[in-house]
């Protein structure tokens, strides 16, 4: 629903959007492999911001970016992803407020999956997320987040409003977290099994495939081809990221400031000496 020059601000769960933006997934996954923090793709080239971890903090960046585009009279909007938990953070509210006041062409895309690790939505808010937009002076819409076409349409309409006169939109996409938050999570402690089962039948990929098949847009061969292509791609990415070497430890000094200040030069020399010693020893 976005144009190529619209800018996406992800949280740390936007693998799908990264694929759409043509980001090399091995580079993207450096973040998860702990070889580099933000991923090693160029955010500008892909119009896709760095993975952002402090919950909700990236929402303000999307607003600032959209304000910047408006100041330049460019018909570009930004879209920011965040979860239901993020709507409890102050930055979400400050971001909505700034966007409303400055008419920043931004789309707030809330993936409401019902859970922030173990805490259910009812502990995040006593209201409805999409209705919070009203308090900030712009439209909020709720959409079935597991309906691909509904999400597409809601997003496209939001971009049209944004481009027309800078009206922001808050989209609340209803979905469900089917997996654990992380490998350290134990969701059997809090997620009801029947709830998971109910949502399993609403799988968006399954539903969209069924729709395409019923409409006659794709046939069985096509679906099989996509699945086998995806399997191959996944294997390739796994190979790339598992085999990825650690980066040169001296880089951390080069990347802190544009010009290396004297105190960092000293510290870099210390690491350089240690690396040389290791090299000599090995």
């Amino acid at each position: 629903a976005l144009r190529d020059d619209d800018y996406i601000f992800p949280s740390y769960r936007e693998l799908g959007a990264a694929v759409v933006r043509g980001i090399d997934l091995v580079r993207y996954l450096h973040f998860y492999r702990a070889t580099w923090h933000g991923g090693t793709y160029d955010p500008d080239e892909h119009r896709f911001g760095m993975v952002s971890v402090p919950v909700g903090s990236q929402i303000l960046h999307a607003v600032g970016y959209a304000m910047g585009m408006r100041l330049d009279n460019k018909p570009v909007c930004s879209l920011v992803y965040f979860g239901d938990g993020a709507t409890s953070e102050g930055d979400f509210h400050e971001a909505c407020n700034f966007a409303g006041v400055f008419k920043a062409p931004v789309i707030f895309f809330c993936q409401n999956n019902g859970w922030a690790i173990s805490v259910p939505l009812a502990r995040q808010t006593a209201g409805k997320i999409y209705r919070k937009a009203e308090g900030y002076g712009f439209p909020g819409v709720r959409v079935d987040g597991n309906d691909v076409l509904a999400v597409y349409r809601a997003t496209r309409e939001a971009t049209e409003r944004a481009r027309a006169d800078g009206t922001p939109t808050l989209i609340e996409a209803m979905t469900y977290r089917m997996g654990p938050h992380s490998t350290a999570d134990d969701r059997s402690r809090y997620q009801p099994e029947d709830e998971i089962e109910r949502w399993r039948s609403l799988d968006p990929l399954f539903r969209f495939r069924k729709y395409l098949e019923i409409e006659g847009a794709v046939d069985h061969t096509f679906v099989e081809q996509v699945e086998s292509d995806a399997g191959e791609l996944a294997a390739e990415i796994r190979k790339g990221i598992v085999g990825a070497p650690s980066r040169d430890a001296r880089e951390i000094f080069e990347w802190t400031f544009t010009e290396l200040p004297p105190h960092l030069a000293r510290q870099r020399d210390e690491v350089a000496a240690a690396l040389e010693e290791e090299g000599a020893g090995g």
């Binding site: 903090s57 100041l71 930055d91 802190t256 544009t258």
Partner: protein, 324 residues
């Protein structure tokens, strides 16, 4: 040459930055029509328009957070936080994003943001309006921290900060806003990261910055009457720290007293002491001492004179190093 105040000098630097570079944006609380509570942005909105100089909602995290997005969109944001004590809601944006963006993007994206914060005490202000937050920022890797003490330095260092490709925390000592200096508001090419020897001396060095600079100069004058010759060093920038000038002075005089307004424990003075001990130990004649604000919250204005390092406290510390 005419006298200029630091407030005028800062206004002049912002005016110059706005006219030299049409990507510079100034925003914050009350910076528009009012010209800021200290009038540092006086008449800038009238002269450069509401797109370049604008008021924001009252939300500090928001002010800094949108700065990140504006910088990514190719602008050079120079946001103002109204007072030191209100810079704390923005710390998450400063620490988690502003300071780390270049690092996290593997050197790909630098954020040229200058966050201006009026800081420190000595002006009889209300609670939360006299904090000295420099150590928080200096401790955050990825930020430059600048704190001028004179109008001409303020002018040039603010211009240098706005030109810098990396984020700068620009601390403006409120007690120096109305200080005057004779000079022209013309760029002199002063870079970030150079300390200044304000007075040369032989027997000891007072290392200071911001609002304590004039007191240290007075202390040096008083000491001179007793035949003690003190060097006074204004650091001007805490990050990067001008180690060469600091260490040269410590080696020359052999006695160092650090003076700052912030509380002593883990204040930036501790960093100065450590650097001096590491690099000038064999030249030292006495322990390196600190004269600072006390380890209490900043007191009510009527008591701040007992809290801030005053002349006698500075001179007593100097005496201790001389008689060690």
């Amino acid at each position: 040459m005419a006298d200029v105040t630091m407030a005028q000098a800062l206004n002049g630097a912002l005016r110059r930055a706005l006219s030299d570079d049409d990507r510079v944006l100034i925003f914050g609380e009350d910076v528009g029509k009012l010209g800021g509570v200290f009038r540092i942005t006086d008449k800038l909105q009238a002269d450069f328009g509401e797109d370049r100089v604008f008021d924001t909602p009252l939300a500090e995290s928001g002010i800094v957070g949108i700065s990140v997005g504006l910088a990514l969109a190719g602008w050079r944001p120079v946001p103002e936080i109204q007072f030191d004590g209100f810079s704390f809601p923005a710390l998450d944006q400063v620490i988690s994003h502003v300071a780390k963006y270049r690092f996290r993007s593997a050197g790909t994206v630098s954020l040229p943001i200058v966050l201006r914060i009026p800081c420190a005490g000595g002006i009889g202000a209300a609670e939360h309006h006299s904090e000295s937050p420099e150590a928080y920022y200096a401790h955050t890797a990825g930020l430059k921290v600048v704190i001028p003490s004179t109008p001409i330095d303020a002018f040039n260092l603010l211009l240098a900060s706005i030109r810098d490709p990396d984020p700068v925390i620009f601390l403006e000592p409120k007690s120096r806003y109305w200080s005057k200096e004779s000079g022209e508001l013309e760029p002199n090419g002063l870079p970030i990261g150079r300390a200044r020897v304000l007075r040369e001396g032989e027997h000891g060095t007072l290392v200071t910055w911001g609002g304590m600079v004039p007191r240290c100069l007075l202390a040096a004058e008083a000491a001179a009457e007793d035949g003690v010759s003190l060097e006074v060093l204004d650091l001007r920038c805490l990050v990067p720290l001008d180690l060469d000038t600091l260490i040269a002075s410590a080696r020359k005089t052999g006695r160092v007293v650090v003076v700052h307004e912030a509380p002593m424990t883990a204040g930036f003075g501790a960093e100065v002491v450590a650097r001096v001990v590491e690099d000038a130990f064999e030249y030292l004649e006495a322990p390196v001492l600190r004269v600072t604000g006390y380890d209490t919250p900043y007191p009510p204005a009527k008591s701040e004179e007992y809290y801030l390092p005053e002349l006698d406290r500075i001179l007593r510390a100097v005496q201790r190093t001389l008689t060690f």
